[in-house]
């Protein structure tokens, strides 16, 4: 997917929200990610120069935390929970079926830009396991056979 263009006003607005405090780098990156659904290359460079933090350091933070993505994401984000409670109830099979149905690998985006498939280490809804979260909506007690009908709800 192509990189999108970023607006300096938007980024300045986010930086001002945190009073351009270097200590708030993670929160700033989170807000940028919320705005664009990923961290565009230009935005990372902009933050680096505006806050006076070396680009290498911003990059290390952006790649250390799982919440950040340097690649554009699909219209819908699927999180398959791989927490222990979900694992003992067969989460690995759910993930495999998700990969089959979306024809993409975990961590990647479908060619048509519809879905980004990711695993997460626990969403804290263990009683509902195995759990899949699509765009923040929880689908609990998943089975291999429920995967396809779930995906069909999204366009």
């Amino acid at each position: 997917m192509p990189e999108i263009s970023v607006k300096n006003e938007t980024l300045n607005c986010i930086l001002d929200r945190y009073k351009r405090d270097r200590g708030q780098l993670i929160s700033i990156l989170q807000d940028i990610q919320a705005e664009y659904n990923y961290l565009p290359r230009e935005a990372v460079k902009f933050v680096s120069s505006e806050l006076g933090i070396p680009l290498s350091q911003v990059y290390s933070v952006a790649t250390f935390f799982k919440a950040f993505s340097l690649q554009p994401r699909g219209r819908h984000t699927i999180h398959v929970c791989m927490g222990t409670a979900c694992h003992v109830r067969g989460a690995a099979q759910i993930l495999q079926q998700m990969e089959n149905e979306t024809k993409t690998c975990c961590g990647e985006t479908t060619k048509d830009g519809k879905f980004t498939l990711e695993s997460v280490n626990c969403v804290g809804a263990c009683a509902l396991g195995p759990v899949v979260v699509v765009d923040g909506e929880y689908a609990g007690q998943m089975t291999v056979n429920k995967v396809k009908p779930l995906l069909e709800k999204y366009d």
Binding site: F64, A85, V88, C122, A125, C126, A127
Partner: protein, 611 residues
């Protein structure tokens, strides 16, 4: 202080005895439409013009997530479970207006013998001691008045009006409060050394980076009763001499962030946070930091680095964080549940708190009881209760008549406890003694269908991914251990591998920099200790007794059960199942089969088996 008392009286007076419909809107129940159900009740109340006699309350998690969505009608405490949107009309018309009980929504005991009407009689709740968690079902987390009405913030008033910081530390120390986040370090000791440490300003931190997979009690407390945590933090700050606090919340918990933000704003409006709290001259403000999805940030020094906007790497703790922590200043860090215990100790006294106990573990502990267990959910129990009581009496045993195999406590740092140790009393020291640990309180129950080698591999893979990469034993050692376990799971293991695993475990335990690495070998060591025969089966017989490890299993049709209904043929994603003819069993082509399990899940006649 008097004003707070007056405020409480005013709140109580303004709340005549009305019927209350409490709808659980914790994350579990939200998945069943909690908010929509609450909205439907609101509309029914408005339609019928009963605003003055019926109130609706959207509460935090009640704990019994397995039975969501939960609705409780008070004051009768009628407990409805598995409520759906279409039940709202009936509940409102029959129960709220006419006082009739709807039998089909009641909880039925697993043996089907009796239906239970009131919340406290349900076996799941009956054996619990819900000191910290019980308020969740009675208050709306977005309403500070609800918290004040149940006596909230009275501990603050007591502390600020009549206790010196040293006395507060003394009281918490006498209560024997140990950290609920995993380590079990005495809370008062941290407060004391921070108070005595040189350097200003001092900080207090609430650790809500609940990364332990399978644990969600901190989430439910932060979502359901954020004021109790704030109150604990204010008391801790006063005792340790701090004026600034941080709540570090996991990125995966958006509702917890939202409710904590609302709580802070309301507490500020009421003069319970900010400058000159309750006219005492004590100042304290709290900020929220969101995590970035890194398990290691639950470790105190990594968490502090993350608050500073840096990569979440731990540092060696030659100097304790209570002396040099956040921004190199003295810092107290406690877990959500620990903070929530503090107001209770102040209000009811250390002697009372210390009476709920075993010798070195005081008070209650919240566990998330998950995995292969009938009553999944959050349970709060007194220390010293046995694993058997938790699993069989509260948890209702193992579903589908399967056999219990192990319970895992302490998450990736903990261990698997076998059946013959089920009478173990649960406290910090006993769990450590058998090779596991308390951890943050995840309790994952496993049955005969779970492979212990696979579980050990699962945790190593988890920790390998979550290792920050700073120190070699953890970064390289866990990877090598995981590769060995991969080999064992794929039938390529050798007997000498077991010794090698034990040797590497010892080296990583000794050599790793932080708790993540030091405790990482625990799941491997405990499974080797208690379930060695399963490792031997994988290595010598090339078999996975539980039928989990894909390389060692295959799916087969049980010919006498197969009705050739073709359901599995349709479901198979790779077309590996062939329909031959009516009345002739279908055939699985092993060369095509990807072992996804869709056929076994689909079959209604038990005609697919794993060998």
């Amino acid at each position: 202080m008097e004003e707070l008392q007056k405020k409480r009286s005013r709140i109580m007076d303004s709340r005549p005895d009305v019927s209350t419909i409490a709808v659980c809107c914790g994350t579990g129940c939200q998945a069943f439409g909690g908010e929509k159900v609450a909205q439907a009740f609101r509309e029914k109340i408005a339609e019928s013009g009963l605003q003055n006699s019926v109130a609706i309350k959207t509460t935090g998690c009640h704990g019994f997530c397995e039975r969501g969505l939960l609705v409780v009608i008070r004051p009768q405490n009628i407990f409805y479970q598995r409520v759906r949107l279409e039940d709202v009309d009936e509940i409102f018309n029959e129960t709220v207006i006419n006082g009739k009980i709807i039998e089909r929504l009641l909880y039925i005991t697993p043996d089907g013998s009796s239906k239970i009407t009131s919340e406290e009689e349900v076996p799941f709740y009956k054996k619990q001691m819900r000191l910290i968690f019980g308020a969740n079902g009675n208050i709306d987390p977005a309403e500070i008045d609800d918290y004040i009405a149940i006596g909230g913030y009275s501990a603050i008033a007591k502390v600020l009006s009549s206790m010196k910081p040293e006395q507060v530390i003394e009281e918490v120390s006498a209560a024997g409060l140990r950290g609920r986040g995993g380590g079990g370090f005495p809370a008062a000791t941290k407060w004391k050394s921070t108070r005595e440490a040189e350097g200003e300003p001092k900080y207090v931190i609430c650790n809500c980076d609940e990364g332990d997979p399978g644990a969600f009690m901190d989430r439910s407390l932060m979502e359901g009763n954020p004021h109790s945590i704030l109150e604990g933090m204010i008391i801790g700050a006063y005792a340790s001499g701090s004026n600034t606090g941080f709540i570090y919340i996991r990125n995966e918990y958006p509702l917890a962030v939202k409710n904590a933000e609302i709580a802070i704003r309301q507490a500020e409006e009421y003069g319970l946070l900010g400058e000159n709290i309750l006219g005492s001259g004590f100042n304290f403000s709290v900020h929220i930091n969101r995590g970035g999805g890194a398990f290691v940030c639950g470790e105190s020094t990594a968490l502090m680095a993350s608050i500073e906007g840096k990569v979440g790497e731990p540092r060696a703790k030659y100097v304790h964080t209570s002396e040099r922590g956040l921004y190199d200043r003295p810092t107290v860090l406690n877990n959500v549940e620990t903070w929530a215990n503090v107001p209770l100790i102040i209000n009811r006294g250390s002697a009372w708190f210390a009476s709920i106990c075993t010798e070195n573990s005081k008070g209650t502990k919240i566990f998330s009881l998950v995995g292969k267990i009938n009553n999944t959910g959050l349970v709060e129990v007194p220390m010293g209760i046995t694993l058997r009581e938790i699993i069989y009496e509260i948890g209702g045993g193992i579903p589908d008549g399967k056999r219990f195999k192990a319970v895992l406590t302490g998450g990736p740092s903990g261990g698997c406890i076998p059946e013959n140790l089920l009478d173990l009393p649960v406290d910090f020291d006993e769990l450590t003694r058998v090779g596991s640990m308390m951890g943050s309180g995840a309790m994952i129950v496993m049955d005969e269908d779970n492979c212990m080698v696979d579980i050990a591999r699962y945790f190593l893979k988890f920790l390998e991914e979550e290792s920050c990469g700073k120190c070699v034993p953890c970064r390289e050692g866990l990877k090598r251990m995981r590769q060995i376990l991969d080999d064992i799971c794929e039938g390529k293991g050798e007997e000498s591998h077991l010794e090698l695993l034990e040797e590497m475990s010892a080296a990583i335990g000794d050599g790793a920099l932080c708790g993540l690495g030091q405790t990482a070998p625990n799941p491997v060591l405990t499974t080797l200790k208690y379930f060695r025969d399963e490792y031997i089966s994988h290595i010598v017989d090339k078999k996975c007794p539980a039928g989990v490890c894909k390389a060692l299993i295959s799916y087969h049709i049980v010919n006498e059960n197969c009705t050739s209904c073709r359901l599995c043929v349709k479901k198979c994603p790779v077309g590996a199942i062939e329909f031959v003819d009516k009345k002739i069993p279908v055939v699985i082509h092993q060369d095509l089969c990807t072992k996804c399990g869709a056929c076994k899940e689909t079959c209604k006649f038990n005609a697919v088996e794993i060998r």
